[in-house]
C-alpha cells in the first residue's frame, strides 16, 4: 500500500459569501521511499495541497490516507501529534528559533512528543542528527552565526529528529545560492536513498524538480501530469 493516498480531494475557501474552489478533485498515490517534486505556478493550488498533505489544513471533502490512517477528519490535537511523529518540515526561510543554539533548535520538536525522552536522551539524539547533517562542530552556534546552507541543514536535522516517514520541503533552496542548493538537494537524495525517507519537494524551479524521481504538475487545482510516476506505474 502507498504511504500517501489522496482520493478526490477538494478544497474551497470562503471569501465573504463566494466559494473559491482551489483544489478540484485531486487523487494521487505516493509510495514509501519515493522522492517526488510538486510543481506548479503560483495560484495553482500547490501550497494548499502542500498544507493538506502536511496535516496543517483539512480538505473540504475527499480522503487522505497517511501511513494507513485516514487523517483528513482528525481533530487539531490529533493532527498535531501526526505532524510531530510522521512528518518533517523544511521551509524556504529555515524558520529556526533566533538566539537559540543549533542543538536546542533540533531538539525542539521532542518537547511535544508524548512519552518524552529525558533531557540527556533528547540532547544525544539532537547531537546524532546534527552530526549526520555535518554540523558536529556547530552545535552551540546560534542561527545568526551560521551560513544559509548550514541553517537549512539544521532545519533538516530538526525535521528528522523524530524519524518521520515523510519529509516535506517547501522551496528548500529558495533562499540559497546555487552551490549550497546543490549541497542541500544532494543531502535530500542521500537521505532518500539510504534512509528510505519519502521526500516531497514543493517548488516552482524545474532545476530543483529534476532531482526528484517523479514530478507532479499542478495547474488550476488539478493534477495535470505525474499522477503515476515511474515507480507508482510499475507497482
Amino acid at each position: 500500500m502507498a504511504l500517501i493516498t489522496l482520493k478526490n480531494i477538494y478544497k474551497d475557501y470562503y471569501l465573504g459569501d463566494i466559494d473559491v474552489p482551489v483544489l478540484k478533485g485531486i487523487s494521487l498515490d505516493i509510495a514509501g521511499g519515493e522522492m517526488v517534486a510538486l510543481m506548479g505556478a503560483s495560484g495553482s493550488g500547490k501550497s494548499t495541497l502542500m498544507n493538506i498533505l502536511g496535516c496543517l489544513d483539512r480538505p473540504t471533502s475527499g480522503e487522505y490516507w497517511l501511513d494507513g490512517e485516514e487523517v483528513s477528519r482528525l481533530s487539531s490535537d490529533r493532527r498535531a501529534m501526526i505532524r510531530n511523529r510522521k512528518i518533517g518540515f523544511v521551509f524556504q526561510n529555515f524558520n529556526l528559533l533566533a538566539r537559540t543554539s543549533a542543538l536546542d533548535n533540533v531538539a525542539m520538536p521532542l518537547a511535544y512528543t508524548a512519552g518524552q525522552l529525558s533531557n540527556r536522551e533528547a540532547r544525544q539524539r539532537a547531537e546524532t542528527m546534527l552530526t549526520r547533517v555535518g554540523l558536529a562542530d556547530r552545535m552551540e552556534h546560534v542561527p545568526a552565526q551560521l551560513s544559509g546552507g548550514q541553517q537549512q541543514r539544521v532545519a533538516i536535522a530538526r525535521a528528522l529528529i523524530n524519524h518521520p516517514p515523510v519529509l516535506f520541503a517547501d522551496e528548500p533552496t529558495g533562499n540559497l545560492d546555487s552551490h549550497t542548493s546543490e549541497e542541500v538537494l544532494a543531502m535530500f537524495q542521500e537521505l532518500n536513498r539510504t534512509e528510505k525517507i519519502t521526500i516531497i519537494l514543493v517548488t516552482h524551479d524545474s532545476h530543483v524538480a529534476e532531482h526528484a524521481q517523479r514530478v507532479i504538475h499542478i495547474s488550476d487545482g488539478v493534477v495535470v501530469d505525474g499522477v503515476f510516476g515511474p515507480a507508482g506505474g510499475e507497482a
Binding site: 498544507n51 502536511g54 496543517l56 489544513d57 487539531s76 490535537d77 498535531a80 501529534m81 505532524r83 510531530n84 511523529r85 518540515f89 521551509f91 524558520n95 528559533l97 533566533a98 538566539r99 537559540t100 536546542d104 525542539m108 520538536p109 518537547a111 511535544y112 512528543t113 518524552q116 533531557n119 530538526r158 523524530n162
Partner: protein, 455 residues
C-alpha cells in the same frame, strides 16, 4: 510537556531578552515593592499607634462601687461604700488579664502655697500603680512609694497646670503646699498629658498616697462625700478611720494570732471611690471584666442570684477608635496595593501581546512540528507567570530593603509582615495568570499556516 521543561523553556526565552523582561516586570517590581514597604512601615506605625492609644487608656477598666437604695431613694452610682483597697490588691494578685490596678479616692480642696492658691480639678489618693495604668510619667522628682502609703506620708505629685499656678517657673520639687491646712511636700511633677477626650485638663491634678487623702484630708472634713462615711457608715470600719486620724500612722496594727483566730473576717478598713485597672491588652478587656466580676462577687460574698454590688466600665469609645483606625489603615494600603498591581499587570499583558505578535512565526513553527494549542497556551501563560513571580520576588526584596532603610535612617517603627509577603507572592502569580491568559489564548488560537507565513 513536563512542567519543569516548560518553566525552563520560559526562563530561557526570557533570558534571551533580559532588558525587555526587566522592563516588563518593572511594574510588578514597583507594585509589590511598594506594597511590602508600606505594609511593613504601616504595620510598624499601626503597632506604635496601638501602643500610644493604649497609653491613653484604651485598655483601662473602671470599677465603681454599686449604689445604695434606702427606702426607695437611690444614692446614684458609687454611693455604696463597699469597694476596698484590699479588693484592689486582690485584683492585681488574682486576675491574670490585669496588668496593673490602683485604688482611687478623691477630695476637692484648695491648694495653697505662700500667697497663691488654686483649686485643682482632681486631688486623688492612689498608689504608684496609678501612673502605670494611666500611662503617666514623672517629669521631675520621684513617684509615691509603698512606704509613703503605709505611713500616710504627706507627700504629693502635682500636674503641670498646678505647678504653673502655684510655682510659676520655680522647681516645685521639695517645696511645700497646703491642702486643707495639712502641709504636703511635693516629691514629683507629672509629665504633661493635655486634655482628655471630654476636654478635661489632665494636668490639673494632685496625686497623694490614698491613705493620706483618706485619713488626713477627707476624714477631717465632710466635704469629701455626700454621706460622710466616718460618721454614718458604721459597716466600713469608721471607728478605725477616726483612729487613723490620730497621730499614729500605723495603718494595720499588729494582731496577735489569737485575734486573727477570733476574727477571721478582716474588717473593711476603708472604702475607695473607684478602682482603676488596666488590662494586658485592648483585646483582653472582656476577659479582664469577667475575672474582676467573679473575684469581686466572691470577695463581697454575693449570692448567685443577687446583683453585682459594683459596676465595671470600659473605654468602649477609645477601643472602637483604635480598631477603626487600624482597619482604615489596612484598607487604604490594600487599595493602593491593588491599583499598583493592576497597573503592573496591564504592563505585563501589553508586552505579552507584543511578544505574541513578534513571535508569530515561532508559534507557527512550533505548531508545525507538533505543538498543540494547549502547549502554546501553557508556554505563554507560564512565561507570564514566571515573569510576574520574578518581579514579585525582586519587589519583595526591594520593599523589605526599603523598609529596613527607612527604619534605619528615619527611625520609624517597622514590622516584617510574613502574611504580606505571602500575599504579595500569591497576588503576583495571579496577576500573571489573569493578565497573561488573554495573550496566551490569542497565541494558541493562531492558524499555523497563517503564522508560518507571517512576516
Amino acid at each position: 510537556m513536563k512542567l519543569y521543561a516548560v518553566v525552563g523553556n520560559a526562563l530561557r526565552t526570557l533570558a534571551r531578552n533580559p532588558m525587555r523582561a526587566m522592563l516588563t516586570t518593572l511594574g510588578i517590581v514597583i507594585g509589590v515593592g511598594s506594597v511590602i514597604a508600606m505594609m511593613e512601615i504601616g504595620s510598624g506605625s499601626s503597632e506604635a499607634l496601638k501602643k500610644s492609644i493604649a497609653n491613653m487608656g484604651a485598655n483601662m477598666l473602671m470599677v465603681f462601687p454599686g449604689m445604695t437604695n434606702t427606702g426607695g431613694v437611690s444614692g446614684g452610682m458609687g454611693s455604696a461604700k463597699n469597694l476596698t483597697p484590699d479588693d484592689c490588691a486582690a485584683i492585681i494578685k488574682e486576675c491574670p488579664a490585669i496588668r496593673a490596678a490602683a485604688p482611687l479616692v478623691w477630695v476637692r480642696a484648695q491648694a495653697v502655697r505662700g500667697n497663691r492658691n488654686w483649686v485643682p480639678q482632681q486631688i486623688m489618693g492612689t498608689t504608684a500603680d496609678y501612673l502605670e495604668v494611666r500611662g503617666n510619667r514623672i517629669e521631675q522628682g520621684v513617684s509615691i512609694s509603698q512606704r509613703d502609703i503605709l505611713n500616710c506620708n504627706r507627700v504629693c505629685l502635682i500636674g503641670k497646670t498646678v505647678a504653673q499656678n502655684l510655682f510659676d517657673n520655680e522647681s516645685p520639687v521639695n517645696q511645700e503646699i497646703r491642702l486643707k491646712s495639712i502641709t504636703f511636700r511635693v516629691i514629683g511633677v507629672l509629665a504633661p498629658k493635655g486634655a482628655n477626650m471630654v476636654g478635661q485638663d489632665q494636668d490639673d491634678v494632685i496625686l497623694a498616697p490614698w491613705t493620706t487623702v483618706k485619713y488626713r484630708i477627707s476624714s477631717t472634713t465632710s466635704s469629701a462625700s455626700t454621706q460622710g462615711e466616718s460618721s454614718k457608715n458604721s459597716t466600713t470600719g469608721s471607728t478605725r478611720g477616726i483612729l487613723y486620724h490620730s497621730a499614729t500612722p500605723d495603718l494595720y496594727p499588729a494582731r496577735s494570732s489569737t485575734q486573727a483566730e477570733d476574727s477571721p473576717i478582716s474588717l473593711r478598713l476603708a472604702s475607695v471611690n473607684m478602682i482603676l485597672a488596666s488590662a494586658v491588652s485592648p483585646e483582653a478587656i472582656p476577659a479582664a471584666i469577667d475575672q474582676i466580676t467573679i473575684l469581686l462577687r466572691e470577695r463581697h460574698r454575693l449570692r448567685p442570684d443577687s446583683d453585682d454590688d459594683f459596676i465595671i466600665r470600659d473605654m468602649t469609645e477609645m477601643t472602637n477608635t483604635l480598631s477603626s483606625t487600624t482597619k482604615l489603615m489596612t484598607n487604604l494600603l490594600l487599595c493602593v496595593a491593588m491599583i499598583s498591581l493592576m497597573v503592573g499587570g496591564v504592563g505585563i499583558m501589553n508586552i505579552m501581546l507584543v511578544s505574541v505578535t513578534e513571535r508569530t512565526r515561532e508559534i507557527g513553527l512550533r505548531m508545525a512540528v507538533g505543538a498543540r494549542s494547549r502547549d502554546i497556551l501553557t508556554q505563554f501563560l507560564v512565561e507570564a507567570i514566571v515573569l510576574c513571580l520574578i518581579g514579585g520576588l525582586i519587589g519583595i526584596l526591594l520593599g523589605h530593603g526599603g523598609a529596613m532603610l527607612v527604619a534605619m535612617t528615619l527611625h520609624w517603627p517597622v514590622a516584617t509582615s510574613i502574611p504580606a509577603i505571602l500575599a504579595a507572592f500569591l497576588v503576583s502569580a495571579s496577576v500573571g495568570i489573569i493578565f497573561g491568559y488573554y495573550p496566551a489564548w490569542k497565541a494558541s488560537r493562531l492558524d499555523p499556516i497563517e503564522a508560518l507565513r507571517y512576516e
